[in-house]
Symmetry: none
Subunit: 400 residues, 2 copies
Amino acid sequence: MDWERLAQELTIATPSKIILLVIDGLGDLPIEGRTPLEKAKTPNLDRLTRRGVCGLTDPVSPGITPGSGPAHLALFGYDPLRYQLGRGILEALGSGVEVGKEDLVARGNYATLKDGLIIDRRAGRIPTEENEKLCRRINSGLKPREGVGISLYPGKEHRFVAKFSGPGLSDALTDADPQKDHKPPAPTRPLSPDAARSAEIVNRFMDEVASLLSDRANANAVLLRGFSKFPALPTMADLYKLRPAAVANYPMYRGLARLLGMKVLETGPETNDLFSALESGYGGHNFFYIHYKKTDAAGEDGNFEAKVRAIEELDAFLPRLEALRPDVLAITADHSTPCLLRSHSWHPNPFLIASPTAFADDVAEFSERACGRGHLGRFPALQAMPLLLAHAGKMTKYGA
Amino acid sequence: MDWERLAQELTIATPSKIILLVIDGLGDLPIEGRTPLEKAKTPNLDRLTRRGVCGLTDPVSPGITPGSGPAHLALFGYDPLRYQLGRGILEALGSGVEVGKEDLVARGNYATLKDGLIIDRRAGRIPTEENEKLCRRINSGLKPREGVGISLYPGKEHRFVAKFSGPGLSDALTDADPQKDHKPPAPTRPLSPDAARSAEIVNRFMDEVASLLSDRANANAVLLRGFSKFPALPTMADLYKLRPAAVANYPMYRGLARLLGMKVLETGPETNDLFSALESGYGGHNFFYIHYKKTDAAGEDGNFEAKVRAIEELDAFLPRLEALRPDVLAITADHSTPCLLRSHSWHPNPFLIASPTAFADDVAEFSERACGRGHLGRFPALQAMPLLLAHAGKMTKYGA
């Protein structure tokens, strides 16, 4: 099905409101018989489940473990196999770096080079202030070159974004990162003939940085990865006639939302801030994406109890979503992050729609297992958006 | 989804081991309320089910009854609508006949012709020794012809493989087989203009055989069906970086496995031989396909009790699979062969993955009905291979 064409044809602009709460990495595997979601006390999630309809989603397709980019794209109705986003572009947009159509961006690390080897890919996680100083030093110290401008934008600790601006740049480049400590620096290599000049520019820049910082014992080199250009994506306004907003306090998710044309609402670092931002911005939009990160972080740490606590913390805020009385409240995960694996996985994700037009099934508890018995069955996450729009009365009939 | 491209991009070579047990034609319909699988006492299957995750697969898609070729291709991750294998090629490879890129092969039967009618399509199932003699007689008696060599390879009873070698042969040919007794011989017809010469060669060969054998009262004609050329298939090593092995004691399944680049392990005719072959070859490979035929044979015979016994016989061997401690043990069927229908059918198949990373669902019994409530839901068999590879830790993340 060409969902995008169908969406443009069938969606209508209405004032009805959709909230999509994405609990990052929520899905898990049972340990001693129960998953974190099964173990957590979630009276609010369970109440919503009883009045909603449930299912399980596959982010890309069964067996495929998605990165955060493809997992989120699918939830927003963008085929993750059609659109592939470089990590660099997500990081850049999330850090508030303006990216233009001709720009090439990458994620950077300060690293420590000694005797020709990268001995620490994170330069001992230097303080953010030192990172800011280094970026200023490099930005002002680089020799001007013809046809391309280069700027570094400091992030947290050792991380930064590098932006190369100018015509004819290509992102068909391998990571300029040895991936492991105690290996020599790895220059980027072009993946297609027309990326040869870009590879040369990037490698010359890395050499120049190393000589600029040669007086330092640590943080005296840079690594670059996830080279990417601005992807050609339709916006959610183009596709669905929505006025979408995003509430997220991690750069990558803010960046992804901006890419799809969402207004990224100002918010703070606490869970409470997410809900306050949503409440403040609620009048001006009709689609809201809220991103909750703590569950994924606990899964990546393999910390079952922290994941239980993260779920319980979030559950306590849900009445504030209900109080807004959205026409559709959907709760799901972008992907699973089982504590057992300490990484993203391919397992399917619990999915819930609470809405007056949802077929309330018999599922009484929001969990991986219980959602597997839901009325929505198991379906690709790419079908979530059509369901949300349908339950919000934002899609007209197909055909006569 | 272009699974093949994705598989090549995402799979990694690891020592983890996968066993895929295919119980041919296992799926069935209830008679007096229970299917053979539900009636059979299967303590080992049920124990594996309790620690695994279950679902139901559709070999091609709902409602489509597959032949053995497409049903198996799908399980191995080859789109059965993209790759179509002639029965001839499978039979030839399974019989150990070398097939080259320019060869055209077909399955053959000796048949009995009388008064211009095929009165017995199997020539009274002549002894294999007589078959061998007839093949020698034909191979040496055929007149040499320009640009094409013809050889017959005897099989069991009345069956043989015919191989036509030479440039420009096409397999776009109808079966040269009246399909029913007491009908006149059916010459092959070309299905495309460029198969006209091949049809002429085949029909001339059949006429020549009939005159060579005209002194005989039975087995005095041949029928040919399933014309096929060597298909262009990537191997499982190409696609998945696996070192795959097959254990099967029927020619067709051995042939299919060879086509996909599996090492076909030596085995004997008994069920015990299958497991011994697996045990002997276990060290040298990391993917094992084991094929069990008796269930399908019982279904084709419409023999419910024999099917129950075949299932129970197999169940008793399963501890030997578990003792090998594979990282992933998957058990399923290629297709259903309901006793009621005495033939392959379109019904979905029980599917089980036992693995430390499987989400152990509530299914406690391996059956068509119980697997329908499994956490994997109902899915195309083409998605089985991604699941097996994922559970074995043989796939990296898709996208950032």
